[in-house]
Homo-oligomer: 305 residues x 3
Amino acid sequence: MNPDTAHLLDIESRSDAFHRRVLDLAAELREDAVPWRQARAGRLLVNLFYEPSTRTRVSFEIAALRLGMRVVNIAAADSSVKKGETLMDTFNTLQAMSPDVVVVRHPDNGALAPLAEAAWPGVHLVNAGDGSRAHPTQALLDALTMRSHFERLDALRVVVAGDLHHSRVTRSGVALMKKLGVGEIRLCAPSGLEAGPRVSEGTRGFDSLDEALDGADVVMMLRIQHERLAGMAVPDGESYHRRWGLTTERLKRAAPGCIVMHPGPMNRGVEIASEVADGPQSVILEQVANGVLTRMAVIHTLLDD
Amino acid sequence: MNPDTAHLLDIESRSDAFHRRVLDLAAELREDAVPWRQARAGRLLVNLFYEPSTRTRVSFEIAALRLGMRVVNIAAADSSVKKGETLMDTFNTLQAMSPDVVVVRHPDNGALAPLAEAAWPGVHLVNAGDGSRAHPTQALLDALTMRSHFERLDALRVVVAGDLHHSRVTRSGVALMKKLGVGEIRLCAPSGLEAGPRVSEGTRGFDSLDEALDGADVVMMLRIQHERLAGMAVPDGESYHRRWGLTTERLKRAAPGCIVMHPGPMNRGVEIASEVADGPQSVILEQVANGVLTRMAVIHTLLDD
Amino acid sequence: MNPDTAHLLDIESRSDAFHRRVLDLAAELREDAVPWRQARAGRLLVNLFYEPSTRTRVSFEIAALRLGMRVVNIAAADSSVKKGETLMDTFNTLQAMSPDVVVVRHPDNGALAPLAEAAWPGVHLVNAGDGSRAHPTQALLDALTMRSHFERLDALRVVVAGDLHHSRVTRSGVALMKKLGVGEIRLCAPSGLEAGPRVSEGTRGFDSLDEALDGADVVMMLRIQHERLAGMAVPDGESYHRRWGLTTERLKRAAPGCIVMHPGPMNRGVEIASEVADGPQSVILEQVANGVLTRMAVIHTLLDD
């Protein structure tokens, strides 16, 4: 097995061809998933989550089940970590049980890199979010959502707004949009929460959400991650909403067919108004549905390599 | 899909025909469940539990597995709720992943009503207990247990005793017994723990367990739910047992063939003596077995509608 | 069903023939497990864990899934125990749901004995560790590992070293090695952590790891279980390592082909040096792989009886 094609650690380390193949397969699954029901029967996926998550864990679990796979869930709380075991020992123990796919979420940036180096042939790693570094399947499901609403990505103006500094969604999302040739990527963040230089490169920066929205085709609102903001001077929810929240009024500045995305979970009344979240331009639940399809496609594609 | 027949939120909102159909199918499954092993293969059930529970969660899980379904479990502890997500957003996220059945347990009365209104075609909600309001599958499994011991329900004298005030089992159970035409329903509770007027209507009230038991055919003892009694003047376990506990001595007042039921988990030596719980008249473990059959029948029937 | 052959509670209560049959089947599964994929399809295994564990729970789960079984997991945290239910009532509730195998881990010595007496026909109990008493599947997987490296066990010198006092692994392991006729069993423990007289009988005791290692063919290092040592005067990790840790230097005293085992999770730098754990003589991950095979064999064999 080629170590470069065995895993999905981040968007950057995989080829454009891989991403396009995943997106094409996910679109095909959306049309008709029935023929794929047993496509990976007998295979085993392990969810190894060191951070709590419902949506991502369940999305991977359902994706695997829909391919006929078996799924084993491990939450950090019941893990041997409590007995002082290292992540590498836990991973090695797991891979000795011959899983086909190991999905890992971990609070530390780059936590999966040493695991990928240690992975045995036939064991495929998928990053379900490491620290603020990468969340590649989120980027892929977002791209799938955009592709289903717009024929061509090269004419799109996409706004990504909110806490870009702590967001693995931003990093992976922007990386993939660049690879797929999205027309214009606009990043908009409160002071102190801007994306780093590598993410910002080749994008347009805004410090006003109103201006960023002008004529936009897609707006992705990010959650304010309170748990990552300890000690920073962040305004309370209401003040944040007044300046950085996506409201119906604000959304009028965007192009008429502009779609509204959010990776969830949402803080209603903070980064997004309920009216917008539930409004006709919201594709937030489509994102969730596309998440399952995208993860099916990722798993299936990795198992082919 | 007709919204009225898509879900099982409580006993009252479903027809007598529905309940009889479930009970008949459950009885059929008890005779021979083998032909049903793959009856719902490929379908997905999600257990969404906001209160801890072993028996109910596992009962639904095993029921679904015995129909060939896939099961995904979500405990509130690892839920996005921690990140401030509303129940409705969590539910919408889940239903965007195309489950067939979502089983919800929640501490708030009526928590499922808005979910049922928001449910998409093909998504079936089952109430696994909401606050002190309803627990319809418990009522159905109890009725199944009574029907398997007595040919006619209209001649039965059934005692329900204990904390009736906080008991969703009581509300759903009494509602179903009324619908099925149980001869006489006797409610017996310590002062301050009586059932409300709507539940009591059409039943006979007792403030002495001895009197309530006279000639009874069925006695359902309820658990004292310490976690719901904060601040109330409730006697300690031993005093409670002396006055309200079902003992061998007390049980002699009932009809000779009287069966003893308890929804579990039991507080032995409080509401029920061990000798009775494990005695020849106890059908408590039959209730558990009937629970799996009843939930298979409920799931199967909802998926038909 | 013969109660003596329905369960696996400990090594001592099962015959040599049973153990040999399990080991032979596990070895066969290692050659080719594919024909066994559906061998127990439709059967149900319940993991009932009153102590946290990743490796053992997951090992049983994967073993059962590889035989085509369904698996339901119960962790003490979400159990009715919180509502005051006894272990026996929890077990009886579970067995009323007709599982085929119930795997129990419990902190109390002998916790499974009353459950085995109460078990109904068709319900098979497997001990996944009770207190410091028994862990029979660990003993079997260790024996499988030794058998795969050495043709004859009667010529082997096996060292078991570390906290032998609190170790269920030691008790079950030594009991099985005696049954299988291992040549020489050497026990080596710090003062105060020695094995009891029943375990020690027929073994050789050492109070120096260096001496115990002389010419050894197998060395099993045990974890220092901090959680069981409250109040005892145990040296800190570094001091422990200097005197009782298995280092490359020390390992040179053993026979050239000596294999190094550890039941995991490891405390690297305490009872074992990383260099040894990851070195060419380590078979620690083979043990993990053998764990799945052994549990498949145990489950399959119990279901035959």
